[in-house]
Symmetry: C2
Amino acid sequence: MKTVDSIIHADHIATVDNNDTVLNHHALIVHQGKIIDIVPSSDVSERFESSDIVHLPDHILCPGFVNAHTHAAMNLLRGYADDYPLMTWLNDYIWPAEGQWVDPAFVATGSRLAIAEMLRSGTTCFNDMYFFPDITAVEAESAGIRACIGLIVIDFPTCWANSGDEYFAKAEQVHKQFLNSDLISTALAPHAPYTVCDDNLKRVIECSDRLNTPIQMHIHETAFEVSQSEEQIGKRPLKRLEELGLLNSRLQAVHMTQVNEQEISQLNDLGVHVIHCPQSNLKLASGFCPIAKLSKAGVNIALGTDGSASNNDLDMLNEMQTAALLAKGASGDAAAVPASEALRMATINGAKAMGLAHITGSLEIGKCADIQAIDLGQLETSPRFDPISQVVYSASRHQVTHLWVHGKQLMKQRQLTTIDETKLLSEVKEWQAKLLAFRNNQQSS
Amino acid sequence: MKTVDSIIHADHIATVDNNDTVLNHHALIVHQGKIIDIVPSSDVSERFESSDIVHLPDHILCPGFVNAHTHAAMNLLRGYADDYPLMTWLNDYIWPAEGQWVDPAFVATGSRLAIAEMLRSGTTCFNDMYFFPDITAVEAESAGIRACIGLIVIDFPTCWANSGDEYFAKAEQVHKQFLNSDLISTALAPHAPYTVCDDNLKRVIECSDRLNTPIQMHIHETAFEVSQSEEQIGKRPLKRLEELGLLNSRLQAVHMTQVNEQEISQLNDLGVHVIHCPQSNLKLASGFCPIAKLSKAGVNIALGTDGSASNNDLDMLNEMQTAALLAKGASGDAAAVPASEALRMATINGAKAMGLAHITGSLEIGKCADIQAIDLGQLETSPRFDPISQVVYSASRHQVTHLWVHGKQLMKQRQLTTIDETKLLSEVKEWQAKLLAFRNNQQSS
């Protein structure tokens, strides 16, 4: 008889292993942050004992979601400017607000708001890109969520750094700061092809090779980005990145709404990961990423919510539903991206893209215990013919009831255990007042 | 000082009047089922008293949603067959299950499950089309929800009727049964152009004129429907319906994914209502209804969830979000279908389509008190720069906390007052067992 940290029983376990195995009436055995066994519920008491035994009838245990692209701190700009064309949105609203207000305090509160929202909707790991990445990392560690923190590189001065040298120096510094963290990893995060020059991209490659980190970058987000590059340098951005040596399995290409047959085949050959953000692409009218085709070609596709300023939530359950529905609609094939594949995109595929598939993204023996429990016993998910289908097409975020990261319980019956929600909401209200006054001032001037 | 039935105070009221007026810190004064006044919260105590005073800080009161197209009883087939092409889905799964199981008991439980789900997500009125419409109407009246019940007409025998004569006789009978109901109205519901012949469509027009009811019909749901008609009779279905005299302001054209410029202009000239079901159209890969164009042309567009077998929920908040996002994505214009317009499509436009705009669909003096309260104080809808934007882009169904129809409170702090959820779920489990055994049997045979 072995004494373990936690035993979690549930009606269903979606392992998201290579065979998409779903187990009924099994338990996850969790010890020292890891899943050490998965056994039929009826066999548990013979083999394991624990002071923390959780019974979740009518629930399904799933791997925690991996939100493969977001800008957490931008949660403070949720709904700040909706229904504007992209350039009006950026030039007249988002950039002025960021220019005025983004500082460590903004990033701390915004990131904590985002992390609380992600935990409450089943996300156990996120991939971030924003200014003051060290602050976001500290908030993630303190809340206990796993994160890959993007170390931003951009050609012009911002609140975070003033020169190429400073961006890279700070990137290395933040990377070192979290080198021994159980939860935090880092990625180089050159913003986009149109904001980072060849020289800085070469330094990104050198730095990523040396530090052994992935690279995430907004690529081919809009048709305008592609045609502008064709006009200016006579080639598509992806071609330029290929020539610079960026296209390989370290790269997470975020958005990719513009992609031709030759590029699809190349992405697959070179092992580039595509990060799909369907709701943001719809909201900003950026185009449709052809994930049915990409998936058929074999490309690894992961899902991200993008930031709350263009979505306007960090709800991976809803993003997964949109991804599955939109893939069918855009490809004209109702069988495209079935529920089990959508669930892979929201979990293991993100872990693969971030180089964390040995740690998280599925419920398998030896992996970290990054787990969410979803209550399928509510009438919105009844009757229940196929639990995975109910998760993808019918469940919504309030049905996520329990969540663990690295074996630690971060949500219990919808209550967060590491974030003080009342204090957080009061901080958010202070920011709301400042930002609202600023926006109203801008509009009237 | 006047004594009234109820007084409901909230931080915001989205009236959805002609100017999309949003009031802050006001109260709705409800008496004998109607909104008799809307006054600043600070003035209420001088003018009104009530034994039922509700204070909802951080909430927004909105008109209850009008779900303009569903097949309520099909809730029992939620998730029964997902990710199949349309014809496999229908021929191999849905039709055999319906053929075997649809009877008054199935329709009663399925409708009650749908009504409970709709009430819990803010819907106060729905437009139905299914067999045994009298049973659905009885369930709606008993639960206290408003409904327009479609009286189905189809060319072949079904569990509901065996001949054209019987369909029309039963239609008139059900119409008469609910003629004096406060909550139930009826519509003629010829299924689709390809399942109802000219003679029966002429009878539909005659019957609708005589009974003074709207007509709802699936039209141009897929490209195949249109091309098949062109092959068989040399014209598009809409042209045939025009020649028969069906195109007028009584008609609700459901789906309309295939519509050319000339048809858009004709729909507008003739006052035909378009019922848009974006999630169902995506899931069955039926095509994109061009609502940005239709809206620009002036056509009244209402939203429906379609049935749970092809969605897989009856969540109008989520449907409204999908409609707004998809309109931007499909039209390439991030400014298309802004939040306030999406809210109109989910409320007043549905009421207009159903001929109920004098009764419901907005919060205005003299209309029935069909009201939902949404809690915007949660962190998923914080900060709050624009409450309408938060409702459309960030809120989800569990944030609907209170709901009234015709002045009667049907949900209070998420608890339904007229439906026994425990009993309902136990009935649903019995159906689940029967249907699952049947499906597994079919698959193995």
